[in-house]
Symmetry: C2
DNA sequence: CGCGGACTTGATGTGTTTCAAACCCGGTGG
DNA sequence: CCACCGGGTTTGAAACACATCAAGTCCGCG
């Protein structure tokens, strides 16, 4: 609760047309003409680990396209604990509910350093009235959000702690079998297990050579071994 | 897999304008004029318990508005098991992905006898191009689906088996504190626990007088007691 | 009447939680 | 430079909840 909110730094105005990840992002299929409809600035923002993009219940002023890094969507439990309900990476959209004028349902926190584009709600509404393209994209994003949510429930909420951890690594791993991981407390909040169990499992996988920690929380993984663990008991 | 698909019976053509639950359903804010855009029949269908509205991977021909009864959305696990990822009731929409032309991501199965309206995909696409109203509703439905998914994860995937069962009852209970419940196997699939544990917990709650089984799988519940259990250990 | 399916119950084992303590490491200040 | 602290991680031992395997019961139904 007392986490510093410092760490959100303005980086400049976004140049959407020339954006490197546009084809996978919300503005994917906007046309030249569509861009002229944007009359509010889209800011590029750098968010430091631990800082929030927005908080649950906030007035929805904007939604965010993640350009790099990792964002966790957190929901707080009545008992004070927290549960991470989704993880967002490059190309994903955070705070979609802002497009509907609904208050944010989660708190979005940067896990790794995050580069993001802040798109004001007014821009979305304007575009979504004027162009079918964006409307389709919005629907697709919602669809994607549901799929992710279901996947979280099925993949990360089922089976033994070891299997869950293995599946989590498999969802985070890159093409070189490397993986930027995060704190054990967060692992627990994602998988619905305790911090200690998360730590035990990760430590054990390191000992077994399935994981190799090149730097703190940076792992090289044995993909095959992880897959075997993912469905085993 | 071999569940009979019998039990889906045509009941007639829907009269959307006069529909009793329209204000809560997908067609909530369509105008008189909008209805004239519907050129394909909307069927009213009765689905018997255990029968499917559609199967995972099916070509998306239609989406469904649930008018009464209870529908489960099921996802199958690699190991052959299954997990129920959402429960739908009167006013809810099943198979939203059809509006996007995406294949169904779940299998939708009637738990209690279900009365449903089958809305062909073409109708949705036509309407969604012609009227902002429906478009907004579609977005809202997606939003709702995500909220449900998150609630499933947080409420039904956290805490002890007893707490989860209590929360499940609280989500199903009606204003008279009555509750149409369902098989223990399904309870397990919803909560991520085994059939036996589900049975044990329900049986124990019956003995404690928290639940009173008036007829098979029809319960009168002590709401206060359930709420106490819901966050307790 | 006897069968099958869903529910209940018991005994046992194991995985996970819990409570505690030790550890490692980067940072701070003497 | 080193002592010291604090947060995150690891590890241990004991308690507990849940899974598992295996009967047994209670229906409805042919």
């Amino acid at each position: 609760m007392k986490k510093t909110d410092i760490g959100a730094a303005w980086r400049g105005l976004a140049n959407c047309k020339g954006c490197g990840i546009r084809e996978t992002a919300l503005f994917a299929d906007l046309t030249e003409g569509d861009f002229s409809l944007i009359h509010l600035p889209i800011d590029e923002i750098v968010v430091a680990p631990g800082a929030a993009l927005y908080h649950v219940g906030d007035e929805p002023q904007a939604l965010y396209t993640v350009r790099s890094g990792l964002v966790k969507l957190v929901q707080y439990l009545p008992n004070g604990g927290q549960r991470i309900v989704r993880l967002l990476r490059a190309g994903d959209t955070a705070g979609l509910e802002a497009a509907l004028g609904e208050p944010y349902r989660h708190t979005a926190i940067a896990v790794h350093p995050v580069l993001t584009c802040r798109i004001p709600r007014a821009v979305i509404q304007r575009l979504s009235e004027e162009t079918q393209h964006l409307h389709q994209q919005l629907l697709r994003r919602w669809h994607q959000a549901v799929e992710r949510a279901d996947a979280f429930l099925v993949e990360l909420g089922t089976g033994s702690a070891r299997a869950r951890v293995a599946r989590l690594f498999l969802t985070l791993i890159d093409e070189q079998d490397d993986c930027d991981f995060f704190g054990r407390e967060d692992v627990g909040a994602v998988l619905g297990i305790t911090t200690e169990t998360a730590s035990r499992v990760v430590a054990e996988l390191k000992r077994q050579g399935v994981l190799d920690e090149s730097r703190p929380n940076r792992f090289h993984c044995d993909r095959a071994a992880l897959r075997a663990l993912a469905d085993g008991p």
